[in-house]
């Protein structure tokens, strides 16, 4: 037994490699932060509509059914990358997706929606980015899941991928719809 002790450092190294490797290959972003608002009610906000639209977005628009809240901007490249995923959720799966347009020029936002499609039920314009800070947003895009009672149940910083939707968002939505 003692004679095999010299293998111990090698085993420790192997264990470390496996640990680091799985973390690296899991695809999770090491810079992504947990939200401080999980299980808390949505902060109060009331955002105006983009010009020419009549919607806008306020805290009162949430609740009744589980909903997604997507924070996006026309100048944000990952937002464009995740847009097909969001579009599929909203249009094909019939999940209510509401949006905050973050620090955007209204005309840019409208042109972007025209070009890339608009799967959002409602959009509020957060020109100053203050509502986003109340939500703990630290970069766009970010996506929140809001439950029937209007509480934040999940937050994903960064672009949504089909994999994240299937692994995390869909199961949560199913559970919250019960």
């Amino acid at each position: 037994m003692r004679r095999l002790l010299f293998l111990l450092p090698l085993l420790l190294l192997a264990a470390l490699a496996v640990g680091v490797g799985t973390k690296l290959l899991s695809g999770s972003d090491p810079q992504s932060l947990p939200s401080a608002l999980i299980d808390k009610p949505l902060p109060a906000f009331d955002l105006a509509a983009l010009p020419g639209r009549s919607d806008g977005l306020s805290t009162g628009n949430f609740g009744g059914a589980p909903m997604l809240l997507n924070v996006f901007a026309s100048w944000c490249v990952p937002c464009l990358a995740e847009h097909p995923v969001i579009t599929k959720l909203g249009r094909e799966d019939g999940i209510p997706v509401l949006a905050i347009n973050y620090k955007d020029k209204p005309e840019d936002a409208l042109a972007w929606l025209k070009r890339n499609g608009d799967p959002y039920l409602r959009i509020g314009a957060d020109v100053e980015g203050r509502t986003a800070i109340d939500l703990g947003v630290y970069g766009v895009p970010e996506t929140f899941v809001i439950d029937k009672a209007g509480r934040i149940r999940y937050r994903h910083p960064g672009p949504l991928t089909p994999d994240i939707v299937d692994r995390e968002i869909r199961p949560l939505l199913t559970e919250l719809a019960k």
Binding site: P34, L37, Y138
Partner: protein
């Protein structure tokens, strides 16, 4: 001996040089006492975009917005602790560059000390368990040793 004025000016500039801040003049408060508190808080808060800079050191938009919020809260009469609470309520403890002592951060605060003491304990244990002195040779073994030595000396 007199240093040339230009050299004196340079030396003075170097001694007075403060670390470069990203805080821009138009952001600053008119009240120097409040501005000083804002700087103090700005050094405590992490920029969430660049993650290893404080909001005072960072040029990121979000850092600038947070600096503005810190100043607004101070002007509204918040204490330093209230300002930090305002920001942590939104971004969590991670936003603080000096993490508070909580159940969740115990490992962070005491992990290294615990590791150090564990290593010392291990070393002490190993020393204690060092094998005892070898037993003296038996009569039979001494004779065999002597015989072997003889053989070696008389080829």
């Amino acid at each position: 001996m007199r240093a040339p004025p230009i050299l004196a000016a340079l030396l003075l500039a170097l001694t007075l040089a403060a670390p470069a801040f990203a805080v821009e003049p138009q952001e600053q408060l008119a009240d120097p006492a409040l501005e000083a508190r804002a700087r103090e808080l700005g050094q405590e808060l992490r920029c969430l975009v660049c993650q290893n800079q404080s909001i005072d050191d960072s040029n990121a938009d979000l850092a600038r917005d947070l600096r503005t919020i810190v100043r607004e809260r101070l002007k509204a009469g918040d204490s330093n602790a209230q300002v930090l609470d305002f920001v942590t309520a939104r971004y969590g403890d991670y936003v603080l560059l000096r993490p508070p002592l909580r159940a969740g951060t115990l490992a962070l605060w005491f992990g290294p000390v615990v590791l150090l003491f564990a290593a010392i304990a291990l070393l002490i244990l190993r020393r204690r368990r060092r094998p005892a002195e070898a037993a003296p040779l038996s009569a039979e073994e001494s004779r065999r040793l002597a015989r072997l030595m003889d053989e070696e000396q008389a080829p």
